[in-house]
């Protein structure tokens, strides 16, 4: 029976009679009172309508990027998602199936995977892509595991420019592999490696890095290669339309968060991760790879061509178990890329580049705001504030502007990380500059003039 159909009083009486118990209390008499669920403190049951209204009120306390002017980024970004995507991924052939254990029967699904892989290979400049993994941070850790499989070296060197969540995931997973994770510092906003030696399995960098700076991937990969280590790069896929492809810079494995490709923010997920490598590492890839072939009648067809680490191939020795989960999100990714097209993705990236440059110039021109680094950026940049960052953010939020992400709590120098997408216009950026400038000025005057200024509120005075 469904949980919507409860046992009536008559049903309960009938069941109690059948087993010879006089009441519900008698039925549970053998359970000591101290172990029973104390229900007296709970509110009585409420109607569905009441519960709906309460949950709706709770949900209304969330702010979405459609309600406030948001410059939040830091790994997930507010890009426009065309209606086309929902229209296609909602088709039941894509929406409902579990991973088929006779995959070749789902030619459409395999073709979508194949086209997705092709798009990822073109973006990353690498030979092989798998059919997607769960999300960005676990993709970084999975890439490190490929390095471990490739040569048994014990140390991973990860740049501080890699997303803090990815580094945390990496440390969590690498520890039981018996691998040591060492962090390489950022100097003037970009990664600097020193003393790479023959114990280093892989170096892990991010492009652009967490502070928005474009890394010199070719020279980082060159340093890794000289030490015999692999280079793993976590990439933001849209800036890759303008930047030199990781594969052309000597990167061995490119991974990343796929949210920006046609997936909404959705409170942090689900999204997907992408994973591409050189042909040399092909057999070490986690998950599945779809391939194109010809059938017995010489017709074009698709197969799952390689899945070397999965449980149905390796049984108890499996080292990867990527299931259905993100295939639909990856499908949204390939639809988005097809919708943009070769020219569209470049135009989108150029638009972000121009607006980010404008925003960086506007913000760094404000009193009490300066650039945290001066490296080239594409879609995101970091500034220092001459005022407490969290208070400045609160002031901006009160004016309906979310100015960006506070960097201090993530282990960086205190500052603000500001992200720009095609959804933020020049007018929006001007508004950000006005609101941020006013907020910084207000906090600076609050710090400087208190307690003599009557302009400071009692709350702030008390905290000072």
């Amino acid at each position: 029976l469904s949980s919507y159909v409860s046992a009536t009083d008559a049903d309960q009486r009938e069941m109690l009679e059948a087993i010879g118990a006089g009441s519900i209390d008698e039925l549970f008499a053998s359970i000591p009172p101290s172990l029973r669920l104390e229900t007296n403190g709970l509110s009585p049951g409420r109607s569905e309508q009441e519960v709906y209204n309460e949950l709706r009120a709770l949900a209304a306390r969330n702010a979405s990027t459609e309600d406030e002017l948001s410059f939040l980024g830091g790994g997930m970004y507010d890009h426009y998602v065309p209606a086309l995507i929902d229209s296609i991924i909602s088709r039941s052939e894509f929406l409902t199936p579990y991973t088929p254990y006779q995959p070749e029967i789902s030619q459409g699904g395999l073709q979508a995977m194949f086209e997705y892989q092709t798009a990822i290979c073109e973006l990353t400049g690498l030979d092989v892509s798998n059919a997607s993994v769960y999300e960005g941070p676990s993709a970084v850790a999975a890439a490190a595991y490929v390095a471990k499989l490739h040569h048994g070296r014990a140390r991973l060197v990860v740049s501080e420019g890699v997303h803090p969540h990815s580094r945390e995931t990496l440390r969590t997973l690498a520890h039981p592999w018996g691998m040591e994770v060492v962090e390489a510092p950022l100097r003037e906003g970009i990664t600097s490696f020193e003393g790479l030696d023959a114990d280093v399995s892989a170096v892990i960098v991010q492009q652009p890095n967490f502070l928005g700076a474009v890394e010199d991937l070719a020279s980082l990969a060159g340093a890794a290669r000289a030490a015999g280590a692999l280079t793993i790069c976590a990439c933001d896929p849209l800036p890759l339309a303008l930047l030199k492809a990781p594969g052309e810079c000597g990167v061995d494995i490119a991974v990343g968060e796929g949210q920006t490709l046609g997936n909404r923010l959705d409170f942090g997920g689900p999204s997907f991760g992408f994973f591409a490598s050189t042909a040399e590492l092909m057999r070490r890839l986690p998950g599945r790879i779809a391939g194109q072939t010809r059938d017995a009648d010489d017709r074009r067809g698709f197969v799952l061509t390689l899945q070397t680490r999965e449980q149905h191939i390796r049984r108890e020795k499996a080292t990867s178990n990527i299931c259905t989960a993100q295939a639909l999100n990856a499908l949204a990714g390939v639809i988005y890329l097809s919708w943009l097209g070769r020219r569209g993705i470049v135009e989108l990236a150029e638009l972000m580049l121009q607006r980010t440059a404008y925003a960086r110039e506007r913000l760094s021109g404000l009193d009490g705001v300066s650039l945290l680094h001066e490296q080239p950026v594409v879609r995101e940049f970091a500034v220092r504030l001459d005022a407490p960052v969290d208070r400045v953010i609160d002031r901006c939020l009160a004016d309906g502007v979310n100015p960006g992400l506070s960097l201090g709590p993530l282990g960086y120098e205190e500052g603000l990380l500001v992200a720009i997408t095609e959804q933020r216009t020049a007018v929006d950026i001007d508004r950000l500059a006005d609101v941020l400038g006013a907020a910084v000025a207000a906090e600076r005057s609050a710090v400087v003039t208190w307690p003599n200024s009557g302009a400071v509120s009692g709350t702030q005075g008390a905290e000072l």
Binding site: R283, T308, I313, R314, R315
Partner: protein, 128 residues
């Protein structure tokens, strides 16, 4: 090879491996029965030259269209060469398991271990 065959000059391990002993070295491979059970072999993942292998322990993997399987060392020693041609033609393991489909050549560390292996007729008797 369509027909089962178990050459007399080889010695056999119960995990369906053969060894061709030649002085203090031996060549290893998998038997006709093993390749038949695996089906079409698509990849051989060899050990590194210089690696140590121990009798009864896995030293390499073969991947068929059905599954990845360990290859068990019939004898102990050190890898002196691996069959490089298998990277392009892994199907040699199916087509010619005792010839072109050999896997590795090993310098034996304990030649007396050969005494515990089976001859062709004893091995073939275990298959029925």
């Amino acid at each position: 090879v369509a027909q089962a065959s178990y050459p007399e000059e080889l010695i056999y391990h119960s995990e369906h491996d053969w060894a061709r002993v030649d002085g203090d070295q031996a060549t290893f491979g998998i038997t006709w029965y093993a390749q038949d059970q695996l089906g079409e072999v698509v990849f051989f993942d060899p050990p590194k030259v210089g690696a140590t292998v121990s009798k009864d322990q896995p030293y390499a993997e073969v991947e068929s269209v059905k599954a990845v399987s360990d290859v068990i060392a019939p004898l102990s020693g050190e890898i002196v060469s691996v069959n490089e041609t298998l990277s392009d033609k892994p199907e040699s393991i199916n087509d010619d398991p005792y010839g072109e489909g050999w896997l590795v050549r090993v310098k034996l560390s304990d030649p007396s271990e050969t005494e515990s292996l089976m001859d062709a007729s004893s091995y073939e008797a275990t298959l029925s």
